[in-house]
Symmetry: none
Subunit: 221 residues, 4 copies
């Protein structure tokens, strides 16, 4: 009643051993999905293309993910964890040492982390997807808020408060709006995907300029 047939397993000439097969096929699909979702957005991306790009059959995707939305959300969650970890490491790094790292220094480290680990990698697409598709996926937005945004903002905020108490910062702007540290980063991500070809943007310099503007006046006093 229903024909079928794998038969023509595509298999590159090299093909090391065959061990890794099942294990990283999931990763393969996630990578392909990132490409497609980035290029087309969630709604317009076709699972057929994801499959093609991952060099698996369409049905294989459903072996690893319940449906399109699950693939999408797992993609966004999976790829964001390393960044959170790194961010926490950086912020914690300033506290472990005997002599405390100045917030200004910390801000630069965060900026560098962002430039190197996000803007400079495929992760920038993850972040952009979260920004662009978030409103349509309340669950995702909530997860992202709880796990990333509020956590990062609060960590930075309490550090900023300390900096104000200790005199490093004169203004409480960063206490009230720790968002300001990442604002240029968001701009950068959107810029790169739309206007980079018209006018390149030096993200590192942009973020440094912002940090300097936020701190310079304090140090001078």
């Amino acid at each position: 009643m229903q024909k079928a047939g794998p038969r023509n397993r595509k298999r590159g000439a090299g093909d090391p051993a065959g061990k890794e097969k099942a294990a990283d096929k999931r990763a393969l699909i996630l990578a392909a999905a990132l490409d497609e979702f980035s290029q087309k957005g969630f709604a317009a991306a076709r699972l057929d293309d994801v499959a093609k790009r991952a060099d698996v059959a369409k049905g294989t995707i459903y072996l690893y993910f319940k449906d399109k939305e699950a693939l999408f959300q797992e993609l966004l969650r999976a790829e964001i964890s390393p960044v959170i970890a790194m961010l926490e490491a950086v912020l914690a790094g300033g506290n472990t040492a005997a002599r405390q790292v100045p917030l200004r220094e910390l801000a630069f480290r965060v900026a560098d982390l962002f430039v190197d680990q996000v803007i400079g990698t495929r992760r920038k697409d993850i972040v952009r997807l979260i920004l662009t598709e978030g409103p349509r996926f309340p669950k995702l937005a909530e997860f992202y808020y709880r796990e990333v945004i509020s956590r990062g903002l609060n960590a930075f905020r309490s550090r900023a408060r300390r900096a104000v108490d200790e005199g490093e910062l004169k203004s409480d702007a960063l206490v009230r709006f720790p968002h300001l540290i990442v604002a240029p980063a968001m701009i950068a991500i959107m810029w790169k995907s739309m206007f980079e070809k018209f006018e390149p943007l030096d993200v590192r310099a942009l973020m440094r300029a912002q940090i300097e503007s936020l701190f310079d006046k304090e140090e001078r006093s």
Copy 2:
């Protein structure tokens, strides 16, 4: 079950001003389209729903717009002009007067303009659509870059250069990155659509904090 509905055109018996009615049907459709595209995004929005919301037949949309994409792009172009005009008025306002308005003051005016005319209105949805869908519509991105971004940025940049020359600004940060003025605005738009329910954001205060951080130190010296 879904039998064809009879023609229950909404329209009072009197039918006042049947003349301009035909004319602004286009505006009706555009308004409905903004609602739908904002809520669902371009790909997921259904013209059926746009028609329903505009209280016209599906086919009517095609009398005014070539296709879904044309509707979308015309929507984003149409609604952005007033903002550009206002922005130019504000920026020009600082130049016409005999005594020049300080850039700092100008920045505050831009911020207020943005808060009142964009964040506080449906236009914030237009901007968000441009940010989220832009990458998929190169034509739109290019238009927006040419007509809005580069124009606004350059206007502000030359004004900033003058401020540097005249000593109002000590740092050239705003010359190199006039983007910094609008960075908090972009954050605000994305925030409002995703995280506002978890944690409200005072956009005006945010923008003021940014401007003060960009200017304060200069003025103190």
Copy 3:
């Protein structure tokens, strides 16, 4: 982005006027659906084939029915009402007259009704579908039980009770099991769809034999 195009409206040479269009397209689809569902069963029937048989596009079906299941259930409900009505007319027919029609006579009328209006028409397929797919559609089974089975059985049962009271019937078999009147009918329906080609079955004679066996002995006394 997405092509489309009706264009090739199939239109038979005759094609009276074009008035009936929308109205009976639903009936057209129902007729085609009956064919397909009868032949293949619910799960194996393809809406594509239903559309082809009804000479409409696949999407047209969804203009009239929410989904495959709705089409199926509405089909079974729509076609069964006339039979119920006729059955009630027959049963009522025995009561209106001044002199009461004997139950035996009524039973023959029911049998004839069944043979002429069900077995002899496409409605036998409806009944078979209810019998074969009912267990998979609890809603349908319940509807059918409430609207047809229990109603018909009870009507016949009270009539049988009267026949016992009045001496027409000696045994209370038909009071306890009015099912016995329709048992041969059910057999007939299944037989016709499976074994008719091996050995034809004279349904009318079968039902008459059953009725005679149920009544004969009474009349003799």
Copy 4:
């Protein structure tokens, strides 16, 4: 999420009697198949579920059965043989004895056999599957007609003819329609799967009522 499960074969450490295990794996699969096919019907049943229920791998099914249809048909053929054997034993039972068992008595025995061995067991599902899926499997219908129906009917018919000749039966109804003996049984099977929860049915009493109605009048004379 749906990672491949490791090999958690259910099997005590001892693994007793590994010999016959392989042999009756087929039976295991058949039992599981009956469950699934009964619940969902042929088309909607999933081999995946059959495998899960039988606690074997999906591929294992194909070691014992050519394909889904073969599994289905072999299931229905395998489980029907014992019933045929029993039926023949009962019918023969009336002939072997010196003094012949009256047909009436034989009929009661058939009814009891049916109630105890079919209605009261999983075999009723087999019969229901034959009734509901038969039309879609001509081969099956033919097999069933040849091996069961015509054989049983003819056996009963010739016995009925004798009863008529010998005066036990006055009417030739059962000669012309031996079907009448099993009609209530068929009703019962469909009833149980659809309406039992609304209104239970005493199958034994139903069949006895039918037999009595078929014989009573004769015996009285």
